[in-house]
């Protein structure tokens, strides 16, 4: 399969996508949605019954922004695949991307606007019309706006990019409010802060896994949950076996083996929170051994002096020899690449850690080159994904304001903070103080269940939108998200809801568009005007982008391959602070994002409930991972239910004895533990976020979600974990075979030459 770099990319754009897809064909059907809910007796012109139509659009199951092609038949979406022309996904998809159809066709979707009847929260939700919903909300908004009290309105969305984000900004601004917040549990805000401090960049760089020869990952589960798993998967595959005679090597440093740790050639457990210290130890070795010859060598040597290999070895628990070896390989194997994220970025010292990790790229000259760290151009649209992101402390402020009655109206867009904030934040209680909560969610969830008015949005497969992946792939890429089926229910695209409200509020000067599609067409004029297209005229350009499913510019930014001089002397990583005393709470708690359920938002998709967790094969529940030694010391075996108790709460789940976790760490997957998220999610497992201590990352104020200590109490109960795996040891049967030779050149295998027993003639 072809993989795409920016040279190939130009050829693909304009050449057309995989199918005959073009969303504009659907424009008519959108206007009369109910017509197409019936199987076609007389099919519309553009459909041939029995022949699939493919539409290119954008995956919204996570923030990676993969381009997808959706196969439809008779007006129904049948299958999602990666769009081969899109540089992020290159025709591939992750497990969650595949499950997008279960979002679209989920039986638990909200089917129309709902209003809470009667006073008080326990009131019943009754169906209303869109006109009623929009006008009632507009009325309430208008009162505050007219009074100059717009700031009592808060708009809280999941992370959104592109023109929808712009629309939110315009709208909230017009309301006279400054409270536009995006909130995602797993947003890499510490990485943003580290990149900003180190390079003065407000956007994340592109890590070129594909061309690297040695990857040192500090906690970043780049194949499972970190930033752009599909793209990283492509990079990983190519780096490993896509180049003649060169095989990329991967090292993963983390306290509990993740998907990326399993894929790595070497998995190293460093004491939790000391990943940055380890990076500095490696840096120290490189500098002190003469591996770095830059003009600021002395400054580096001075600031790294405290991180001698021996002292780092003591602090991290990684043997000095290993540190030296890693440092040597990292410096000698060019190009190499260091990345950091996941838990490593979410201790109290998260930003410092990530600064230390990324500084390694500078020390060995990985900046701005193929196989290293490449700076992305400025976003084509908007201020970038970090601009409105709420940190944990922002959310605490919001809760505080709510309690003090400063928030009159809260509009929620597809974000579920009641689930993704720890109990300690008391967010649920704060929400109860807000007089009017409006949710634009497509599903009932823990936060939406507290709403007074629900104006349900379309799913991404029914709406117009666009997306500009961030971090990009080293050059600017954008894609239009187009509806692939007519809406199933009486829902509306989020953009159209906002535009409807704007009309009702008389904001047509600032937001003059009748619908999202018109808004996009107008805004994309600006992109057309950038000139990076061969299309003749905007109409042709628009059609081309829809067909190809992607637009892009191939110019790469020339960025200085240097770091802020001021950073060097301040480089240093404090020891991590964990909440809870180690006497009372002997274990460090390692919650991790599920490969399948993300931060819990995919727990309502039956496919995601039923696909085995890659590392444990467990389905349909939560579990607590324990090192075999720890488990046997405590007399625990698989299925023993234990209580995991932090200073801020406790949850109970069965034990899974996990061979690759540090003895003093216990891990739990995030994602289960819903009680208001539909039939597939409710009542399964527990939500480990609940018991997290409100420990914050010292610089960003983000939740240091890897900084909680816990203790374990066996409950004496047992349950059978539901999983596929029998015995995960191969008992000498050589099922997975390995070879020492990295490259070709050995003897050619001759399979299919084993004779079937021949009966002599």
């Amino acid at each position: 399969m072809s993989s795409i770099d920016r040279r190939d990319f130009l050829k693909l754009v304009g050449a057309g996508g995989v199918g005959t897809g073009a969303g504009f064909m659907l424009r008519e059907s959108i206007k009369h949605p109910t017509q197409h809910l019936i199987p076609y007796v007389i099919p519309p012109e553009e459909f041939s019954p029995g022949i699939a139509t493919w539409y290119n659009t954008v995956c919204s199951m996570c923030s990676a922004g993969c381009g997808i092609s959706v196969r439809t038949r008779e007006g129904r979406a049948k299958k999602i695949e990666g769009n081969p022309a899109h540089p992020v996904s290159q025709g591939r998809l992750c497990v969650r991307g595949q499950a997008g159809l279960h979002t679209l066709y989920n039986p638990d979707r909200l089917t129309g606007p709902l209003l809470r009847a009667g006073e008080g929260k326990p009131g019943e939700l009754i169906p209303i019309t869109w006109d009623e919903g929009i006008s009632q909300l507009a009325e309430r908004l208008n009162v505050l706006r007219d009074d100059g009290q717009g700031n009592r309105i808060c708009f809280l969305s999941k992370g959104v990019r592109g023109h929808l984000a712009e629309l939110f900004e315009l709208f909230v601004d017009q309301l006279g409010s400054s409270r536009l917040l995006h909130y995602d549990f797993a947003h890499p805000q510490t990485l943003y802060a580290a990149i900003d401090r180190l390079f003065g960049e407000t956007h994340l760089p592109y890590y070129d896994l594909k061309n690297t020869r040695f990857l040192l990952s500090f906690g970043a589960d780049y194949l499972g949950s970190w930033i752009s798993p599909v793209h990283h998967g492509l990079g990983f595959g190519h780096s490993r076996q896509g180049r003649d005679g060169i095989r990329g090597r991967f090292v993963q440093i983390e306290p509990r083996m993740s998907l990326s740790g399993a894929a790595a050639d070497e998995w190293i457990a460093a004491n939790p929170g000391t990943e940055g210290i380890l990076a500095l130890g490696i840096g120290n070795y490189i500098v002190s051994q003469g591996g770095y010859q830059g003009s600021d060598r002395e400054e580096w040597a001075a600031s790294l002096a405290a991180y001698s290999v021996e002292s780092v070895a003591t602090q991290t628990g990684v043997p000095a020899a290993t540190i030296a070896r890693l440092a040597e390989t990292f410096a000698d194997t060019q190009p190499s690449l260091a990345i950091g994220g996941g838990a490593a970025g979410n201790y109290s010292n998260g930003v410092d850690t990530l600064v230390a990790v990324n500084a390694l790229n500078y020390l060995v000259g990985n900046l701005g080159r193929e196989g290293g760290l490449v700076f992305n151009p400025e976003p084509v649209v908007g201020r970038g994904a970090n601009a409105s992101q709420a940190t944990y402390s922002t959310m605490l402020d919001l809760a505080q304001d709510a309690r003090q009655g400063e928030i009159e109206i809260l509009i929620l867009n597809q974000t579920n903070p009641v689930f993704t904030l720890p109990e300690a934040a008391e967010f649920r209680e704060a929400l109860a103080e807000i007089p009017l909560i409006v949710s634009l969610s497509s599903f009932m969830d823990e936060t939406t269940s507290m709403a007074d008015l629900i104006l349900p949005s379309h799913t991404y497969l029914e709406s117009w939108g666009d997306d500009f992946p961030e971090p990009g792939v080293g050059f600017s890429v954008g894609a239009i998200s187009q509806p692939v089926v007519s809406p199933l229910y009486d829902t509306r695209a989020t953009g159209d809801i906002i535009l409807g409200l704007a009309r009702e509020l008389g904001l047509t000067d600032a937001l003059p568009w009748s619908d999202m599609e018109e808004y996009l067409q107008e805004s994309w004029q600006g992109i057309y005007a950038r000139g990076s297209t061969e299309a003749e005229g905007f109409e042709a350009f628009w059609t081309d982008v829809l067909k190809a499913g992607v637009w892009g510019e191939t110019t790469r930014r020339v960025a200085p391959a240097s770091v802020n001089a001021s950073v060097i002397e301040s480089v240093g990583v404090e020891a991590p602070v964990f909440s809870g005393s180690s006497d009372n709470y002997p274990f460090i708690f390692h919650p991790y994002l599920s490969n399948t359920l993300n931060d819990g938002r995919d727990a309502n998709l039956p496919w995601m409930q039923e696909v085995p967790d890659p590392l444990t094969s467990v389905v349909y529940g939560s579990w607590v991972e324990l090192n075999p030694t720890t488990a046997s010391e405590m007399g625990l075996t698989e299925g023993d239910v234990v209580e995991v108790e932090s200073p801020h709460g406790k949850v109970a789940a069965p034990v899974y004895v996990y061979p690759a976790i540090m003895p003093n760490v216990i891990a739990m997957p995030i994602g289960q533990g819903h009680d208001e998220y539909g039939r597939y999610a409710n009542g399964r497992g527990v939500n480990p976020i609940q018991i997290l201590s409100p420990q914050m990352e010292s610089e960003t104020g983000g939740l240091a979600w890897a900084s909680t200590r816990v203790r374990l109490t066996p409950t004496g109960q047992r349950i059978d974990l539901v999983k596929t795996g029998g015995v995960s040891r191969d008992l000498g049967r050589e099922i997975i075979q390995t070879t020492e030779s990295d490259t070709d050149g050995g003897e050619t295998a001759s399979l299919h030459s084993i004779p079937i027993t021949v009966i002599p003639t």
């Binding site: 795996g725 029998g726 995960s728 008992l731 049967r733 099922i735």
Partner: protein, 454 residues
Amino acid sequence: MQAERDISYADVNRDVVRSLVETGSKYYITLAISVSVMLACFFAPWFYQLQYGIGAAGMNHPTVWGTYLASFIFWIGLSHSGTLLSCVLHITNSSWRKAMYRSAEAMTLFSLMVAVTMVMVHLGRPWFIHWAVPYPNQMELWPNFRSPLMFDVMAITTYLTGSTIFIYMGTIPDFAAVRDRTTGWRHHMYVLLSLGWRGTDTEWHRLGWAYTFLAVLIIPLAVSVHSIVSWDFALSIVPALHQTIFAPYFVVGAIYSGTAGIVTVMFVLRKYMNFEHYITKLHFDNLGKLLLVLSLIWTYINVLEIFTGWYSGTSTEYEAIRYKLFGYYAPLYWEMILFCAVAPLLMISKRFRTSFVPMLILSIAINIGMYTERFLIVATSLSRQYLPDAWGIYVPSLVEISIMVGSLAMFVTLFLIFVKIFPSISIYEIKETLPEPEPKTQSESGAPEWQPTL
């Protein structure tokens, strides 16, 4: 054989005919119970399973076979001793066979019938079972003649046909005898059943010839049936199933459980049909000796199985054996060893062999053990095959257990019906063992040579 007390030809006629026509309330109660158990425990859950799917049973991935197949082999096995033993004893002129062979053969027939229903129960879509039968059809679709399951269909059909003819043929003179001593509808029924038997020399001659011919034919057939059943397993490449010893292992196991089954049935007949005079200590003694020999052969094969598994040194074979002996199902394995290898050693003592109740208990224990053997063959092997990550555990569901019990009730029901239609001990052959009531001149044509030797 000499009956214990002096009995005359008339006594035999009277006793046997009485067992057919005089039906007490005990019989009806027993029949009612067994019919209701059959309906409630077999047909009701089966009906539910037909509606719901095989999921009503406990089978899963990777243990896709379970008690239904175990029951199938069990019943096929039980079917073995009857006709086979009868044939062997017939051609070896063992006179003690005469009192018991009819009900033993009936056992064969009914176990085969129950076995066939177990196949129906086992199938995912039994309503299409006829697709496994070669019949000319418009689609020109034929079954797969390479399949050991196909061999099964053939072998069992042949064995069922052969056994049916064998038992029926052997009963014709008795039907005639009963015909002459009954009235009313029974008489009409036996007129039909006896096919106009008059007892002429030619008739006796032909019967004898045909009977011996069939007996000789059925012996290899019976051996082949269970060999073929064993191939359902042995022709796979599943560790611990893919074994050359399986065919003899199954045949021996079949005869073993069948013989034990005969002991049980003999006991019941003797006790409840008042055949104390015909079924005697001698029978139990002889059957006991046979059982003892069989148990030793069976034990020997089991030891061989363990040895070859251990000696093979391959992870798969070794693990399969280890799992059988010490894994999840180990308690069942040791129960089987106790019942089928250890306890039967008691029969070394003649006193034990000639005690009715202990022999009954032992014979039941042997069959419990033999059922366990079949269950373990399926459950332990399938749950531990080549890919350890796909291993699993299988526990039978309530539906399965109920059907297992129900199938026993079905067997009992069939048997209860049988004893009221078929003379359950052979009238004419018993008579042959008695002193003749009066000197009788030989017919002119001379006695057929075969007859006096019977």
